[in-house]
Each structure stands twice: as C-alpha cells, then as structure tokens.
C-alpha cells in the first residue's frame, strides 16, 4: 500500500483521489494539499502529501508558481541591466546575488576591481548574510510556534536594511554593485554608522539566540527531527548550512576563496546530526562568523580610493567565451554559468540556485515524519521561492 503510493505521481485534484481511499484491511491514506497559499511554505510552494493518519507516506513537491523566466529575460537585457534581475532571484540576499553576477562578468572580461570596492562588497554581502539569517531565525521561530523572537529578529534586520537604504537607496532591490566596482562610494557617515551598528546586531542576535535556541519547547520541536546523513546530503547536492549541519565542512569561501575571503580568518561551523535544530543553530553560529569577517574587513579596508575600475561606467561587451562562477550565498552555493558571444547582451545565463537544489531533498526528509513536523522541516531548509522558480 505504502509502496504503491510512492510510485505514483500526484493525481489531478478532481480525480476523486483527493478523498480518502479506504482499502479493506489497510490503514486509510489521505491526500493532503499543502500550499501554494500556505503561510509556512515560505512563498508559493505546493506539497501534495500522502498521509496515513498523521504520518507522511509520500510527498510530491510542485514548484513553478513564481516562475518569471529570469534566465531567458537575461538574454534580452544588457549586461548592466541584468543586475536588477539578479536582485530579484533570492530577494532576501540581494547583495550576494549581485556579487556573484558581477564577478562572473568581471572574470569574463578580466577586470581588476579596486580594493576598496571589493572590501565594501564583502562588508555588504556579510551584512546581508546576517540579515538573511535573522529572517530565517524569525521564521523558524514562527514555524515552531514562537512569536516573540521574530519581532526581535525583524528589528535587527530593520537596522541592517536602514543602512542598506543609506548606501544604495533601496531597502531590498539595491542595484548597487556594478561591473568593475560599485555604483558610487558609500556615504560619508557609513563607517561611523557601521561601527555603531555592529554591537547592536550582536545584541539582537544574542537576544534572539537566548530566547529561542535552547528553549525547551523549541528543542522538542526541532531536535532529532528529520536527520540527514552526510552521505545523503552530498548525494542530494545540499549546500550551505543544510550540508554543514550534517557535519561536512564545505564552504565555498574556504574551499575556493573568491573575492577577498582568503584574507579573513573565520571558522566554518558544522553540525553533528544534521537534524532541524542543527540546521537552525548553524545559521546562528554563522551570523557570529559574519560579524567577525565584517570587523576584520573594517580594519583592513583602505580609507579612501576608487570604487569603480578604470573602465568606468559604460556599456560592456565581454569577449566571446563562457565562464562559471560560484559563491557562498546565505542559502548555499550559487553558481552562474555565463556565455557571451561578444555582444552587449548575454548569450546564455544559467543560475544554479542553492534553494532549488536544497529543496530536492524534501522528499527524503519528509517521508516517515509527522505532518506537524513538515512545517519545521521545510522551514529549516530556508528556501526562497524567487530563487527556486527563477
């Protein structure tokens, strides 16, 4: 019975199979639709669950509700316009997305980026990583039923976003990184504000950490839920915190240092069991590592200098060729495959989004768990549908 259910794809909703299927002598199985308009699916993600009582027998994920054809749109936009599309992939970590794209074009053109611009990029990317993880902590708390920590996390995120607005003029869709540098230098009061912000972020982090991480109810909801072994995590192509929670020490910033990440001293935290709580706590630890990277970058950064390469602001036409660039996003490893035919628009642009690959393990993680746990398991993957569907 259960095996038979695993081998079918979800039938159409009007086929009558959506009702319970009583089979003589067998437990009653039911088809349960979760999403696309479900608050805990973090966007428009639909799961069709085959449940036996409260136990999940099988699951069929449906994606594509937020498909906008970003990759195809990129082929019609000039290189500097594509940055706006990359803002809208993983819309929680915009700076990180912009960074990987501009790095791809710079690699293709062999551009040298001024040091100050690169430092500012690293600072902004790490701040964005903290903002993204803060949002994760907030939603993870909400998924498990904790309302209060989300308020504190959102306050911390708000402070970071106010700084982003001062730097780029927008809270989320920044469009600030340019091919060869930055749009303009940061405002004069950026460094004082950042220095003021750092202890505040640390305080916000510690506060939500204290409230949530070792809370007894929270632990009961998350610990030992859906553990993923290191082998499984590697086989399914999990990256980022989801992979490291299983004990694999793999971080693109360490494994293949890009930008200036070889100049900073930071740890790559790993988990032990790869369960939901490990996936949660690893992100908390990563926030502290990001803070230390920002502190080091603030010390090393040249006080003034150019922020745009000698190329300046102009239409770029990279030489014909192809390039694959990867980076560590808050959600995992993002890859950009860019093919140029020498014109002012990309010939082909393919994104390897971390959320999409992490989501592929959802079936492995959900089978034989309880329906109530499916919410926290999906939440612990930290998916962003804008990136999954593209």
């Amino acid at each position: 019975m259960a095996d038979a259910a695993r081998n079918v794809t979800a039938p159409p909703l009007d086929s009558g199979a959506a009702q319970a299927r009583p089979v003589s002598g067998e437990p009653v199985e039911m088809l349960l639709n979760m999403g696309p308009q479900h608050p805990s699916t973090h966007g428009v993600f639909r799961m069709v669950l085959w449940v036996d009582g409260e136990k999940i027998v099988d699951i069929v994920p449906h994606i594509g509700y937020l498909h906008r054809g970003s990759e195809k749109l990129c082929e019609g936009e000039q290189y500097h316009q594509v940055i706006t599309l990359f803002d809208r992939l993983d819309y929680i970590a915009n700076f990180n997305n912009e960074h990987v794209y501009v790095r791809a074009v710079e690699r293709l053109m062999g551009l040298e980026v001024p040091e100050r611009a690169e430092y500012l990029r690293v600072i902004l990317c790490e701040l964005n990583r903290i903002a993204s993880h803060l949002l994760f902590i907030a939603t993870m708390g909400l998924d498990a039923g904790a309302m209060t920590p989300s308020m504190f996390c959102f306050r911390g995120r708000e402070r970071i976003q106010a700084l982003f607005e001062a730097v780029s003029g927008a809270r989320m869709m920044h469009n600030y990184f340019r091919i060869g540098g930055l749009k303009e230098d940061v405002p004069e009061d950026f460094m004082p504000r950042l220095r003021e912000l750092m202890p505040q972020i640390r305080e916000d982090l510690e506060e939500s950490d204290k409230l949530l991480s070792f809370n007894e109810i929270f632990l009961a909801r998350l610990k030992d839920i859906s553990p993923v072994t290191a082998e499984d995590a590697i086989d399914y192509g999990l990256t980022g915190p989801c992979l490291r929670a299983s004990g694999v020490e793999y971080d693109v910033r360490k494994a293949a240092p890009y930008s200036l990440y070889d100049r900073f001293d930071f740890n790559v935290p790993t988990g032990l069991d790869g369960d939901c709580w490990d996936r949660y706590y690893l992100r908390v630890q990563e926030c502290y590592e990001s803070l230390s990277i920002i502190e080091q970058a603030m010390e090393q950064m040249p006080a003034e200098g150019n922020v745009l390469s000698s190329l300046g602001r102009r239409l770029v036409r990279p030489p014909a060729g192809e390039v694959y660039v990867r980076a560590e996003n808050p959600r995992g490893e993002i890859g950009v495959y860019l093919v140029s035919d020498g014109s002012d628009r990309p010939y082909r642009l393919k994104v390897r989004p971390p959320s999409f690959c992490n989501l592929s393990a959802i079936r492995l993680m959900l089978i034989n768990t309880w329906v109530a746990d499916s919410v926290v398991i999906l939440g612990s993957l930290d998916i962003v549908m804008g990136e999954v569907d593209r």
Binding site: H80, T84, E165, G169, M173, E216
Partner: protein, 169 residues
C-alpha cells in the same frame, strides 16, 4: 521546571526592554506610542523613489533634451518621450538646441533601479523621494511631463539638489 523559569525570566527581561523602546510603530507616523508625530517616516538621503524630471531655474525650462538615453537603458521600458526644437534657443536664452516635448513614465512598470539617473548626461532625471503614489484609477500612475516636472521641482527644493555633473571637485 528550572528551564521554564529561566525561559520566563528571559522573556520578562526582553519584554521590559520592549516596553522602553517599541519594536514596531504605526505605519505613516514616527515616534512611539506616547509621542506620536504624524509626519511621514523619514527616508535616507539616497533613497530612490519614483523618477522625476528636473527644472533648470536659471533658464526656465527642463534640463531634459529628450536624448532618450534613459529610455534605451531602462530595463523595463517604462518611459517614452518626444523632442522638439527649443524656442528659447531661437531667442538666445538657452544653450539647448532641442528640448523635451512630451515625456511619459509608467510608474507601475518602473522598478526604481536608478539606471536612468546614472546614465543621464544632462542631469535631467532624478530619483525623487516620492514613494506613495497609489491611485484609484487604472493607469493612474502613467504620469506625463507636467507631473514629472512638478515632482522633480519639489525634490529639488526639498533636498537642495545639485546637478550631478557640477557636484564635487
């Protein structure tokens, strides 16, 4: 049991902190519950609201010559414009040979990326601080030249705008 007490203690501490300094606030107003100011939430100086056209007060005409560089670089094709011979140039008052005749921006399409401002060679377009422009009419946000100039003039007055090409140095 001990854990519950510990958790309650942390919650209590955090609540006390929250009372001193509210985390949220009523949307358009600033201040806190006790001191409420009805002024809109301030934005950062670099804030990118809807684009607007600037007004050259020295001559009394728009900066825009309708060269269409912004239109060509717009990722969403939200703008269109036409150009005419500048009457003030014939009178010798202006150095612009051509001047904008009509300009339309569909603000529903605009994604506030600021690329138009970056590429403009005539300091003609600016990202205003205007960001609440909902209307009850379909296509009510398709704004034309007078509205854009009014928005831009308001922004120039409010922020002591200096043309980017004359900035610094």
């Amino acid at each position: 049991m001990l854990n519950s007490i510990k958790g309650m203690f942390i919650t209590l501490l955090s609540s006390a902190k929250g009372l001193r300094e509210p985390v949220t606030r009523q949307y358009p107003a600033t201040g806190n519950l006790l001191q409420r100011e009805e002024a809109p939430t301030p934005v950062q100086p670099r804030f990118m609201g809807f684009p607007a056209l600037t007004w050259d007060e020295g001559v009394g005409e728009p900066y825009c010559t309708s060269c269409m560089v912004c239109i060509r670089h717009c990722p969403t094709q939200c703008m269109s414009s036409t150009m005419k011979d500048n009457p003030l140039q014939a009178e010798g008052k202006s150095s612009r040979r051509k001047i904008v005749d009509s300009f339309e921006i569909n603000l529903n399409r605009c994604i506030l990326c600021g690329i138009c401002v970056e590429w403009c060679n005539f300091d003609a377009i600016v990202m205003s601080h205007e960001h609440e422009m909902s209307t009850y009419v379909r296509n009510g946000d398709r704004v034309d030249l007078p509205v854009l100039l009014e928005l831009g003039y308001k922004h120039q007055k409010e922020t002591d705008w200096v043309p980017p090409t004359k900035r610094g140095k």
